[in-house]
């Protein structure tokens, strides 16, 4: 409990330290007005699909490892496990596809990509 409290307070202090820096940078940019929506859209698209692919990779890898373990324990039922695995992978992959739609929408709307 004491350790958790220490870490929580430390994180709060670090956020408070860096908050004025970020806000000052945003204020300076708003005064300048030279960075357009296109730049932000490009950054946003990259971050969106990057994080989505990260989560998808972790989720699929974890599911795949358990499926391999299940087949190793009981090779007779490998057909059912493979079907369930493919179904699960397709469902997880659809979450990454949602992020891809958002990312493509950002890029196409700003005219960066087709």
């Amino acid at each position: 409990m004491k350790k958790f409290l220490t870490i929580a307070l430390l994180a709060f202090v670090i956020v408070c330290m860096f908050a004025p820096l970020a806000l000052a940078a945003e204020g300076a940019m708003a005064d300048g007005g030279s960075i357009s929506v296109k730049a932000y859209a490009a950054i946003g698209a990259g971050i969106a699909i990057g994080f989505a692919a990260l989560g998808t990779g972790i989720g699929m890898g974890s599911g795949l490892s358990k499926a391999c373990e299940g087949v190793a324990r009981n090779p007779g039922v490998s057909g059912k496990i493979t079907t369930t695995l493919i179904l699960g992978l397709a469902l997880i992959e659809s979450l990454c596809i949602y992020a891809l739609i958002v990312s493509l929408g950002l890029l196409i709307n700003q005219g960066i990509f087709f």
């Binding site: 179904l87 397709a90 469902l91 992959e93 659809s94 596809i97 949602y98 891809l100 739609i101 493509l104």
Partner: protein
């Protein structure tokens, strides 16, 4: 993607009838023609085309009867098998050069997901009547748990409303991603043949798996609606 020249432009004017409509009709005509051709020469020991179609139909029938039970497996089998075969044919059409897959348009996929949504609720109400609301209330059933039942009602409604959205966007997104990947690869490295080949194989796999996932999810939603509430 509508500006590209497709094979259908020879028959139907792309200004009047959009590509995804004409190719959807082509898919329907293909499937109906296949069915009529098989029905014309049915044999007890199948061979050739009849064998392939029977394998597919048997697989989906086993799936439907396993998930829905023997009473409801047979009536729902036409819907599930039609969805599977039609989406598979439409997806594979996108891989052939000169053709376009109708499922790479959100209108087509939504037009398949929304009837599934309505069918789920229609059959749920038909089987259970007003008691269908018990499906939405969660596992606890006593007066003390009334706040939790109301919360579960809200959460389950949102989850049910998200179903047609996820069904349609999943299929649409996969098809669009496949087309984009092939386009970008052809644009950037047109000479690297193994890369195109690999993406092509991935495209075939994705086309089949997405059709299967749509059919499987339809089966599970219907099973959830007509089962006995606990």
């Amino acid at each position: 993607m509508g500006e590209h020249k497709m094979l259908m432009d020879l028959i139907v004017n792309p200004e009047v009838v959009p590509h995804f409509v004409s190719y959807a009709f082509l898919g329907s005509i293909l499937l109906i023609g296949l069915a009529l051709m098989i029905r014309g020469s049915m044999s007890l020991v199948p061979g050739g085309v009849q064998n392939v179609v029977e394998v597919v139909a048997k697989y989906i029938l086993d799936l439907a009867e396993e998930t829905l039970g023997h009473h409801w497996g047979r009536p729902f089998f036409p819907l599930i098998c039609t969805i599977f075969m039609y989406i598979a044919v439409c997806n594979f059409m996108g891989l052939v050069p000169g053709f376009d897959s109708p499922t790479s348009n959100i209108n087509m996929t939504a037009s398949m997901a929304v009837p599934v949504f309505f069918a789920t609720h229609y059959y749920g109400l038909k089987v259970h009547g007003v008691g269908y609301i018990k499906h939405f209330l969660g596992p606890m059933r006593s007066v003390i748990w009334l706040p939790m039942m109301m919360l579960m009602l809200i959460v389950e409604s949102i989850s049910h409303l998200a179903r047609p959205v996820t069904l349609s966007v999943r299929l649409f997104g996969n098809m669009i991603a496949k087309h984009f990947l092939l386009l970008v690869l052809a644009f950037l490295v047109p000479w690297l043949i193994p890369a195109h080949f690999a993406v092509f194989l991935l495209g075939i796999l994705v086309a089949l798996v997405q059709a299967l996932v749509f059919a499987l999810l339809t089966t599970m939603y219907l099973a959830g609606a007509v089962e006995e509430a606990h």
